[in-house]
Amino acid sequence: MNGPFADYKWAALAHDWAVFGEGFANTVMVSCLALALALALGVLFGVLGSSNWKVFKGITRVYVEAIQNTPLVIQVFFLYHGLPHLGIMLPVFAVGVLGVGMYHGAYISEVVRAGIQAVPRGQLEAAYSQGFSFWGAMRYIILPQAKRMAFPPLTNQAVSLIKNTSVLAMVAGGELMYQADSWSSTNLYYGPAYIATGVLYLMLCLPLATYARKLERKAAVNV
């Protein structure tokens, strides 16, 4: 029987599963490193954004607004096609980690800032009175409390981040979406290709999203 989902097309998919496996592995790797970068940037700029230092607050604002108000596709295009004209040739893997990491770093910094601001102001004052420095107070007093507030939205950011790595398909990134495009556009077996790809993304994201919901429930009980 013919059609977009004909049996022989599924058979071809099963035969070439390694193509999708390679893409899946790349997606997982880019996601992990980008998430690490996004968390580092997010905590740094989240703390700076909620501090009283005007200059750092300004820098944080510029970073967050510039990233949040331009499409990720443009940012990745700039890193991939723009930087080489300035003499900087990043490998596509680094483009992915940097592009997606910086993008979600901006969102995570807002999550972290909101978490910090949700901690009562007296906590910081009390820490100061006990002789903590700003960074010491953040590290031992404020962030551990902010974490509980920030964790569920953070997990959602991780889910978005995984899905957003798919923009790398546009710059020959070698991740799951690129492999699916590449495979299915040659033989035109797009039906099985995109279903398999969707299921693979689902397998990555659904457990995380479920985990986020669980954390949210826990937070709600604690409050």
Binding site: M1, N2, G3, P4, F5, A6, Y8, K9, Y80, H81, G82, P84, H85, M89, A169, M170, V171, A172, Y178, D181, S182, S185, T186, N187, L188, Y189, Y190, G191, I195, V199, L202, M203, L206, P207, T210
Partner: protein, 272 residues
């Protein structure tokens, strides 16, 4: 444990739903094909217009002129000839732009009757769609920066080659590279302008697609190598179940070849 089983249940449900969807998609064409062999032609006649998917970014074949906003080219002229045969009026066509990624699905869901879009005929693709006899033959060509010093495939050891998704040029070029004993790496992009951008920024060293398409992207800093590989044959594609339509298209192509009209069109559009 409970959580894992819920998760598995979700996956199974999704797959189940998809399988159900596939089943119905498979059945439809079979029923209509049995009911009336010429149902596909009749549907076009009832509608009074032939819907054709064409390229909008390939000068001389299918190109949307940014000034007039009109799509025109060799492949649109072929669409007109088919409309004349089926509907008796060459102006009764409704063209829409397709890309390598959309042309298959658009055919399958009936959004277009025909795809005439520099669609290379391959054995693998013939399993999924009807292809007419070829109306044009073209070789894979390569564009490089003048400053790169690349003159032939043998100079391409360790180089990156940009090709279009869905293009058959990748396979052809890989065979050439194997023959010349050089190692090359392929990067696939969705559209031709993106490949050109990647060539300009130095992401790739070679831009390789069909020669006639490549000519549209030539500028001062680039040059097209003389070599041509693996002749690519373009055919008119239609949905597998629309057998009568495919037959009609084939007759049009055969007529146009016989009476020299096709050659005239190729000349009209200045395609070598």
């Amino acid at each position: 444990m409970k959580r894992i089983s819920v998760f598995l249940l979700c996956i199974v449900t999704v797959i189940g739903l998809l399988a159900a969807g596939c089943g119905s998609a498979d059945n439809k064409p079979a029923q209509s094909a049995q009911a009336d062999t010429a149902a596909d032609i009749k549907a076009i006649k009832d509608r009074g217009v032939l819907k054709v998917g064409v390229k909008v970014d390939v000068p001389k074949f299918g190109f949307k002129d940014p000034q007039t906003n009109k799509i025109d080219g060799l492949e649109i002229d072929i669409a007109r000839a088919v409309a004349k045969k089926i509907l008796g009026d060459p102006t009764k066509i409704d063209v829409q732009g397709v890309t390598a990624k959309t042309r298959g699905p658009l055919l399958d869901n009936g959004e277009v009757d025909l795809v005439i879009a520099t669609f290379t005929i391959t054995e693998e693709r013939k399993q999924s769609y009807n292809f007419s006899d070829p109306y044009f033959k073209d070789g894979v060509a390569m564009m490089v920066k003048k400053s790169s010093g690349i003159e032939a495939v043998k100079d391409m050891n360790g180089k990156k080659i940009g090709v279009a998704q869905s293009a058959t040029s990748r396979k052809a070029l890989q065979e050439e590279a194997d023959k010349a004993g050089v190692k090359v790496q392929f990067l696939e992009f969705g559209t031709y302008p993106e490949i050109k951008t990647a060539l300009d920024s130095g992401r790739i060293d070679v831009f390789s697609v069909d020669g006639s398409i490549l000519a549209g992207y030539l500028d001062d800093s680039t040059t097209i190598l003389k070599d041509r590989f693996a002749p690519q044959e373009y055919g008119v594609a239609s949905k597998k179940s629309n057998a009568a339509l495919a037959k009609a298209v084939n007759e049009v192509i055969a007529d146009m070849k016989k009476n020299g009209e096709l050659d005239k069109l190729v000349q009209k559009w200045g395609i070598k």
